[in-house]
Amino acid sequence: MFTILIASGLLAAAPERPLAIHADKARLADGKVLEDAWVVIEDGKISSVRSGGEAPEDSAVLRHTGWISSGLVALHAYAGTPRAELRDTTRTMLPEARIAWALDPARPEVADCLREGITSLLVTPARQSLVGGAGAVLKTAGGTIVSREAQLSLGFAAMSYVSNRYPTSFQAGLAELERLLEKPSGLLEKAKEGELPVLFEVSERSDVMRALAFAKQQELRGALSGAEWTGELAKSVKESGLSVVLPPIGLGEERRALRAVLSLAQEGVPFGFGLDAPLSHPASLRLAAALCVREGLAADQAWRALSSEAARIAGVEAQLGALAEGQQADVVLWSGDPLELTSSVQAVYVDGRRAYTAEGR
């Protein structure tokens, strides 16, 4: 794919003039496709998105043969933290822990995500803690932490329990959580008030059942993360108002898991794709979307799960996840439709600056 630079001086430094990018097609936040798209970036933000017409005067112009979209938002990643730092093993409940303090944006796996078109990551504490602490939203270039308290992780899966440390059972774990939320302070208080969404780490359907009951009892909002068959309880999830973060869907995934995703879509449950990078390859994010589309998910729904819906689950929908006016300028130039696996990333902009250019361009 060949891109012609009409104006000069478009390097890593922030352009002083607005940058107008023209692409053959654009993927919008709701999944619809815009033809003959112009996207204007100014001061690190998207100032306009429209179809047809000309570039604004005194703007630098970039003509791209291919598609343009907002950067992908990957939920539930571990990239940016050394593996051993994800979980404090001395205590299973650390309500005031914030993963933002463990982030190192210079780690190579963050750049790996950038190269796959992922511009922001929701980095979460490991799933094995009963109360893991607050996750954070990190940009994959520039090191900006968009949100230091994106959600509070609570463990509802069997992996949160070991037999040689209190609590050893679901019953006692739930009782502990209830106790903590009875007179909450700090992050727990925010969660109880509904200001901070909760990420319920689940694995099996019985975990989902328990999490739904707990969320209802404590009046918590947030998302269920990590159970591939959550969709089989889609009606109950819809009633609860919780969203869903899907576990990474890889090659060789059972059809049952893919059908569960379709059930979620059918019931209107909002969902996004989880990544678990660097444990899984960053390309798995789009692969998950492609597998769901192959199974029958509508393309625009798949796109929303990769971008705007994911940003909403991470609590940053005002700034990220949409190719729209006022959003931060995280855009990706693709060789083709980003939902097609045969398309590749040509260039990535983060906060209005060129952060990555594919080789050979």
Partner: protein
């Protein structure tokens, strides 16, 4: 037992003939009580028909009869009683040249394989029905399997059809497709002690030792391959020589007999006279003895060398799984003098470093792209997504396979091909690699790989272009039968 022809030519032509028979597809006959219905006559209408990469027909039709493609063209007449199918795109079905579906599980992990081990003997055509249907739904109808996936010598591979419910005869497309070996795999590294990781403050034993081999082990592996090939070659040679010698010896015997025949009367008279003389003189009569040359012994039958001989001769291709630069270079150098050897490299993670030699020698590389994050343990896991594109750009013939480690992996092959295209490979090359390229490399291109008259009917009827999200599989035809429809669960 006098042979009528000189032995040398006979020996060679016999073996060529037998291997040709092995690779011919056997058309299906109706099996009463079997799962698959009898073959029917099919009439396929395509808005676009991809005959072979680069040759596309618009508004074309294909007639399938008795398991084979009977006609391809435009404006064909519908045969009587034919079942009619239509699709926007029709193309040849995919072949996974490095897979494991259809092989019994213990055959796959067998570590005691030798060159003579035949994967066709370990085929399990039953079971795994759901997996087979999913693989068909992905577009893969044939898979080459090897026993002993990570063994040093895996034996003779077979090309199998994926569809469930086929008889063993139909399921095996080619009983002897290629010999496979491996060089430098960590799994075969000798003296492997357990190795450990420090995880969460605790020592955890790794599942496989990723230490790889040291220089001497590697050289040893390459030597093993070369020695085996040379052994096969000399075995073949001694077989041919034996035939030659046998013929000579027979000739001599015949000549001697004719000679004796001629002088029979005189010899008889002489013998009677001698007998009489001996009797008179009182001596003991001794028969004149004629010494025969000893009959030349054939070389002792060696099953492994039989196969290796055919490989050395170029009748069977040799697939060698090798990843690292040093081993690959060593292998290419050591086999340079075997000009008849047909080599294929499987894996080739670092093949870019030898790309010039690979191009020069015409060695194709079967890449195994994989989506692995930090979980990569040894060279089998960390396959690079851009490898196909880079090798292709350097001029190497690139094929794509699923790695032979798991039966389920063949299903994901077309998706991996798409991802490789997303990483720089061209879609045309990917499509060719999955169809005609793989078929040619494995000597089955007379049966599969393109939509041409006479070949076995292995077809995909797609809703869109192959290797795109829109290109969903509608129908799959394998061995001339419709093995997958949109209604199939």
């Amino acid at each position: 037992m006098t042979p009528s022809l000189p032995g040398l030519v006979l020996g060679l032509s016999a073996s060529i003939l037998s291997s040709a028979c092995a690779t011919a597809a056997s058309p299906a006959k109706a099996r009463p009580g079997g799962e698959q219905p009898a073959t029917e006559v099919l009439f396929v209408r395509a808005e676009r028909l991809i005959v072979r990469p680069g040759v596309e027909l618009e508004g074309a039709q294909v007639v399938v009869r008795d398991g084979r493609i009977a006609a391809v063209g435009k404006d064909l007449a519908v045969p009587e009683g034919a079942r009619e199918l239509a699709a926007p795109y029709v193309c040849a079905a995919y072949l996974d040249p490095w897979g494991a579906l259809g092989l019994a599980a213990d055959a796959r992990v067998d570590s005691a394989t030798t060159a003579g081990t035949r994967a066709a003997d370990g085929v399990d055509t039953y079971g795994n029905k759901e997996l087979r249907l999913e693989t068909l739904r992905a577009g893969v109808t044939c898979v080459r399997v090897q026993a002993g996936a990570s063994a040093r010598v895996s034996g003779l591979g077979a090309v199998l059809r994926v569809a469930p419910g086929l008889s063993p005869a139909e399921a095996i497309l080619a009983a002897e497709s290629a010999l496979a070996m491996s060089v430098g795999l960590s799994a075969n590294a000798p003296n492997q002690g357990p190795s450990f990781d420090f995880v969460d403050g605790q020592l955890v034993q790794r599942e496989s030792s990723a230490r790889g081999m040291d220089l001497f082990d590697r050289v040893g592996d390459i030597d093993r391959v070369v020695t085996a090939i040379e052994g096969g070659r000399s075995y073949l040679q001694s077989k041919i020589e034996h035939k030659h010698e046998l013929a000579e010896w027979q000739k001599k015997i015949t000549e001697k007999e004719t000679e004796l025949d001629k002088e029979f009367k005189k010899a008889k008279k002489d013998r009677e006279k001698e007998e009489k003389d001996a009797k008179e003189k009182g001596k003991k009569f001794e028969e004149k003895k004629y010494k025969e040359d000893k009959r030349p012994q054939p070389p002792r039958y060696d099953e492994d060398n039989e196969v290796l001989g055919r490989v050395a001769n170029g009748e069977l291709p040799l697939v060698v799984q090798v990843h690292r630069t040093a081993e690959l270079r060593g292998l290419l150098a050591a086999t340079a003098k075997h000009d008849r050897l047909r080599l294929l490299v499987a894996g080739g993670s670092e093949a870019m470093n030898c790309s010039a030699t690979l191009v020069e020698r015409g060695v194709p590389v079967i890449v195994m792209p994989a989506l692995v994050g930090e979980g990569a343990v040894d060279e089998l896991d960390g396959a690079d997504l851009t490898l196909a594109a880079r090798l292709a750009k350097a001029g190497v013939e690139v094929l794509i396979g699923s790695g032979g480690g798991s039966a389920a992996a063949s299903r994901d092959l077309p998706l991996l091909a798409q991802i490789a295209v997303g990483n720089g490979w061209t879609r045309e090359a990917a499509f060719a690699a999955l169809t005609v390229g793989a078929a040619r490399a494995l000597d089955v291109e007379r049966s599969i790989g393109t939509v041409e008259r006479g070949k076995s009917a292995e077809l995909l009827l797609l809703e869109g272009e192959p290797l795109t999200n829109a290109g969903r599989v509608k129908y799959v035809i394998s061995a001339g039968r419709v093995v997958l429809t949109p209604e199939t669960k």
